[in-house]
């Protein structure tokens, strides 16, 4: 439950981070997320696709249809320059946040 709440606030950042590395389509993003997180993140696709569409509507990613081998069409997503800026900003914020959490949750630093 707690993990789900944490993921809710991080979904878009995670998507932007993946797309900053390479252009991907939806199913590929799901598999890559699982692989890179060693199975920790298992996206519900019902959350993933609306999140991708939201990012596209905000101009942070751009989608385009491409024909794959085998003749099927897939919608590939590429991060935009605005998306990269947003990612950098969110990554900085995440680093500050996680550092602060670790300071509070971790053991009291000893003096001397």
């Amino acid at each position: 439950m707690y993990r789900r709440e944490l993921l809710k606030g991080s979904t878009e950042t995670l998507l932007l981070a993946l797309l900053a590395r390479e252009t991907m389509y939806g199913y590929q993003i799901v598999k890559e997320m699982e692989r890179r997180s060693s199975g920790y993140f298992s996206f519900k696709e019902g959350t993933l696709y609306p999140a991708l569409h939201r990012l596209e509507r905000e101009g942070l990613v751009q989608g385009e249809w491409r024909e794959a081998a085998g003749g099927q069409f897939r919608r590939y997503y590429t991060i935009t320059p605005r998306g990269l800026e947003a990612l950098n900003s969110r990554e900085s914020e995440w680093r500050r946040f996680s550092r602060a959490v670790n300071l509070v949750v971790g053991p009291e630093p000893t003096g001397g």
Binding site: Y27, E45, Y49, H53, Q72, R74, R75
Partner: protein, 314 residues
């Protein structure tokens, strides 16, 4: 899988192009995931079920997509509210007294609505569509009254008020009006039933004003008394503009329905206070029933097309 996608297609109340892209993307995803799961050892029905479970309930998925796309930009809100604002100006500056302005405005709105309809049905065009139906609906209503009146005169062996040719013309016009309005209405409901009451917003108020005009002795005879109510009428149209703006800025279907369910009766009551001086009359009651019917009936019409039967998509 086909049943899931059909259900989802019915629930996604977005413009046809956007809906088509969403369904295409999800279908492509499902096919690839099902293939991989089968390669991993599951049989097809298990693979399909697992994929659909991961996608989630069509209702929830449609709601998420709606929240992404439904909220209109301020530009779209302005376009959607513009017809109401133009009519507010017509009454604020007493321009209705030169009837040609009203007719030109309604014809212009119909032109915009037709172009927008053919250009992909942008969501902002539904209020324009509603005004473009005012002339045929009001004309059809007056034709029904005139034909009824003429029939009554004939039954009582009195000369009818209009020429036979006029009655024939009206009788021929009525089915054309009926079929046109019905087709447009069905098209709106197919797109999203919530746009149907939004499009029909001006109709109860136009009907109220025309009745008020009739009570004052007609448009020409009662011009002075009618003009005294122009300020209140302009405010009513401003109320319609505000209701429309709030509707378009909401990203939740339930909230949009609430705005219409509360806003329309409230404005009808405001109108009754302006024209009748009291909300307690049979006419106001009938208008309220009509207003609520305009909200509720499209929902049930939409529910009839639910591939799984049941309630309308909210």
């Amino acid at each position: 899988m086909r049943g899931y996608l059909l259900d989802l297609a019915w629930r996604i109340k977005l413009d046809p192009r956007r809906k088509g892209e969403i369904l295409r993307e999800l279908e492509s995803h499902l096919e690839e995931e099902v293939y991989d799961l089968q390669e991993g050892g599951l049989d097809r029905s298990e693979a399909v079920q697992m994929s659909l479970d991961r996608l989630g309930q069509p209702r929830e998925l449609a709601r998420h997509y709606f929240e992404v796309y439904a909220r209109a930009s301020w530009g779209e809100v302005s376009l959607a509210s513009l017809p109401h604002l133009l009519f507010a100006l017509i009454f604020a500056f007493h321009l209705w007294t030169a009837g040609i302005w009203v007719v030109l405005l309604l014809v212009g709105m119909a032109g915009v609505a037709i172009l927008a309809w053919r250009g992909g049905q942008p969501s902002w065009h539904y209020p324009w569509l509603g005004y473009s139906l005012v002339l045929p609906v009001v004309g059809g209503g007056l034709a029904v009254l005139a034909l009824g009146g003429g029939g009554w005169e004939i039954l009582h062996r009195r000369p009818p008020a209009l020429s036979p040719l006029a009655y024939v013309g009206m009788a021929l016009l009525l089915p054309v009006v009926y079929v046109t309005v019905k087709r447009v209405w069905a098209g709106v409901i197919e797109r999203d039933w919530l746009f149907a009451p939004l499009a029909a917003l001006p109709l109860p108020f136009v009907a109220s004003w025309l009745r008020f005009a009739g009570q004052q002795g007609g448009l020409a005879a009662g011009e002075g008394r009618l003009a005294e109510a122009d300020g209140a009428t302009a405010l009513l149209f401003l109320g319609l503009a505000l209701t429309t703006a709030v509707f378009y800025r909401l990203a939740s279907r339930a909230a949009r329905l609430a705005v219409l369910t509360v806003g329309i009766p409230a404005l009808v009551l405001m109108g009754s206070l302006s024209y009748q001086g009291s909300p307690f009359s049979l006419w106001v009651f009938l208008l309220l029933v009509l207003a609520l019917a305009v909200v509720v009936l499209p929902a049930y019409d939409d529910a009839r097309h639910n591939p799984n039967g049941g309630r309308p998509a909210v």
